[in-house]
């Protein structure tokens, strides 16, 4: 879609200037992070934060990697495990539920859907404390399960899945497959999942970022640093850095290392976010 109106030169300059000012605001902390990550602990405090001073990025990165028996890699692995497995299971389970709610009629269907929808509105942190108490009842506190189990559910995914399935999965195709004698599960895994891929990708991305960025749940559940995700690990470095000044540099280096891949992914996968949002949440 293109705007038919061609704005005057003056308003075009004004518009671009406005967009640029906003861009400076959003980029500035990232710029500072990149510059700060190259400095020694001394220069971090002793030189201007806006310009390079004796850059030693590789040394800093090696320090982050090697500190405390390379625990950084362990945290990266944990974060990938929580986010990857959590998002994958959540996507399949909620897309299946959304498809079922869209294409099968049964008693209580709408009531069930409304209950799931209410789940989207529940503040996540309000659940973390009672979840902790439940997990401690069954002895799962401070295990991988304590973070994984609450991560494999996405009410938003079921909601998006239902809307998407109604629009993208034709009834005639399902009927034809049934006449050919295909079982319902085969239909779901071979036909429906493929048709619903755009919605599934959107759900996966949202869930992945949601788990990756989550802090409250792992904070409440985990006490063993070996099971920490990145967020918790970096904060544990920051919280003792007033006693161990070298950890300032570690925290900054770790923050850069953990943000860059995610920022690249976020930006390059933008069209998937938009695709899912246009199809789903906004139309609903």
């Amino acid at each position: 879609m293109k705007n038919p109106r061609t704005p005057s030169a003056a308003s075009r300059v004004l518009l671009t200037a406005g967009l640029a000012v906003a861009a400076v605001y959003f980029l500035f902390p990232v710029y500072w992070l990149v510059i700060a990550a190259t400095k020694s602990t001394g220069d971090l405090f002793g030189s201007s934060g806006l310009s390079l001073s004796n850059p030693q990025l590789l040394t800093n990165i090696r320090n982050v990697f090697e500190y405390n028996g390379s625990i950084f890699f362990r945290w990266v692995g944990n974060s990938l495990l929580y986010s990857g497995v959590g998002a994958l299971v959540a996507t399949v389970v909620s897309i299946a539920a959304g498809y079922c709610l869209a294409k099968f009629t049964f008693r209580g269907r709408d009531a069930l859907f409304n209950i799931f929808l209410a789940g989207v509105m529940i503040p996540g942190t309000a659940l973390a404390l009672p979840l902790f108490l439940l997990m401690s009842e069954i002895g799962l506190v401070n295990t991988y399960w304590a973070v994984l189990l609450p991560s494999v559910i996405s009410p938003f995914g079921a909601y998006l899945g239902r809307i998407y399935a109604s629009a993208a999965v034709p009834d005639s195709l399902l009927e034809a497959a049934r006449l050919d004698g295909a079982g319902e599960f085969r239909i779901f895994f071979t036909i429906v999942l493929r048709l619903m891929t755009p919605a599934a990708v959107t759900v996966f991305l949202f869930q992945f970022i949601g788990i990756w960025n989550n802090y409250f749940l792992p904070l409440v559940m985990l006490s063993d640093p070996d099971r920490y995700p990145l967020t918790l690990g970096l904060v544990s470095w920051q919280s003792v850095s007033d006693r161990h000044p070298e950890l300032y540099q570690m925290t900054i280096g770790g923050a850069l290392l953990s943000s860059v891949p995610l920022m690249i992914a976020i930006v390059s996968l933008q069209r998937f976010w938009r695709a899912g949002l246009t199809e789903g949440s906004v139309k609903g």
Binding site: P29, P130, P150, N213, F216, D242, I252
Partner: protein, 293 residues
């Protein structure tokens, strides 16, 4: 049709079971915890323990604690400022991108969306450094002009937190609005143009009404998000004396549970917080539905 039943069970069963276990059950458990207490009998409370029903006692305790009610008012004030700022900024950015020529739009959109990829706690760490005297280039530059800004003072810290939240989520909210703007039929603008509508009229009479669902959606999620404020103040706490252990209701509940081991009171505080989030979300939706057509 046995096969159909089995299919429904297989497709919907896992989600329903997980929903029950990780969302419905914890809510029920929190409600139960919030109306019971653990009573210890015997000398020095070292005998057997038993759970007793205490009604709304914990709610009364929470609401009569000035620190907790202050934290509730603080997040309400925070939301009243934060939500409009966030939504106006996100809508403005989306409309500006929509009006700009094709070149550069993709770059700017990516830049605005970028912070969403940075975990909230890392964003807080980052801004924490930018608020710290001696580390922050912002403060350095301000001091050249003789300005003495205190980002971490008692009167400014709440708005320094608001800045972090805005920085992180404005681009995400913008993207939701952009998605809806893209779905508007371009012919509509052409028709308005031919009828002599100005650019401003096209924005206020066509675009804004049509992106209303996206604005409503982002507003509700922003309300729910801001009321839950937790990570940002927790991360900034070591940097300033202005953030107490009960600065926000979530911090208070966390503190009650893990520092004071009073899970029952913590549960009551969590329930109260969820109620506040619900009341605000529904009040907003009601307001929107009444004024809308």
């Amino acid at each position: 049709m046995r096969g159909r039943r089995l299919a429904i069970l297989g497709l919907l069963g896992p989600f329903t079971a997980l929903f029950a276990a990780t969302i419905a059950l914890p809510i029920g458990f929190a409600l139960y915890e919030s109306v019971t207490a653990i009573e210890r009998s015997g000398p020095l409370g070292r005998g057997t323990t038993s759970t007793v029903f205490v009604g709304l006692e914990h709610y009364a305790t929470a609401l009569s604690d000035p620190a907790f009610t202050a934290s509730l008012w603080r997040v309400v004030l925070f939301a009243l400022v934060q939500v409009p700022v966030m939504i106006v900024l996100a809508t403005t950015l989306a409309l500006m991108l929509d009006a700009a020529s094709a070149r550069g739009v993709k770059f700017f959109r990516s830049v605005y969306f970028l912070p969403y990829g940075i975990p909230g706690v890392i964003a807080s760490l980052l801004w924490g450094f930018l608020y710290t005297p001696g580390l922050s280039p912002v403060l350095d530059v301000a001091s050249w002009f003789g300005l003495n800004i205190d980002f971490l003072g008692a009167s400014s810290i709440l708005w320094s937190i608001a800045n972090i939240v805005t920085w992180q989520f404005a681009g995400y909210n913008m993207l939701v609005i952009v998605a809806q703007l893209k779905s508007i039929d371009g012919d509509l603008f052409e028709a308005a143009e031919i009828d002599g509508a100005s650019a401003w009229q096209i924005i206020t009479r066509i675009k804004l009404p049509l992106i209303r669902p996206a604005i409503v959606l982002t507003t509700v999620f922003t309300i729910i998000g801001t009321i839950q404020l937790f990570g940002e103040p927790l991360i900034l706490r070591p940097l300033t004396g202005s953030i107490t252990s009960t600065y926000t209701p979530n911090l208070a509940a966390y503190n009650e549970a893990f520092a004071n081991n009073n899970y029952n009171l913590a549960a009551a505080e969590s329930v109260l917080l969820a109620l506040v989030a619900c009341v605000f979300s529904f009040a907003f939706l009601k307001l929107v539905n009444r004024s809308g057509k």
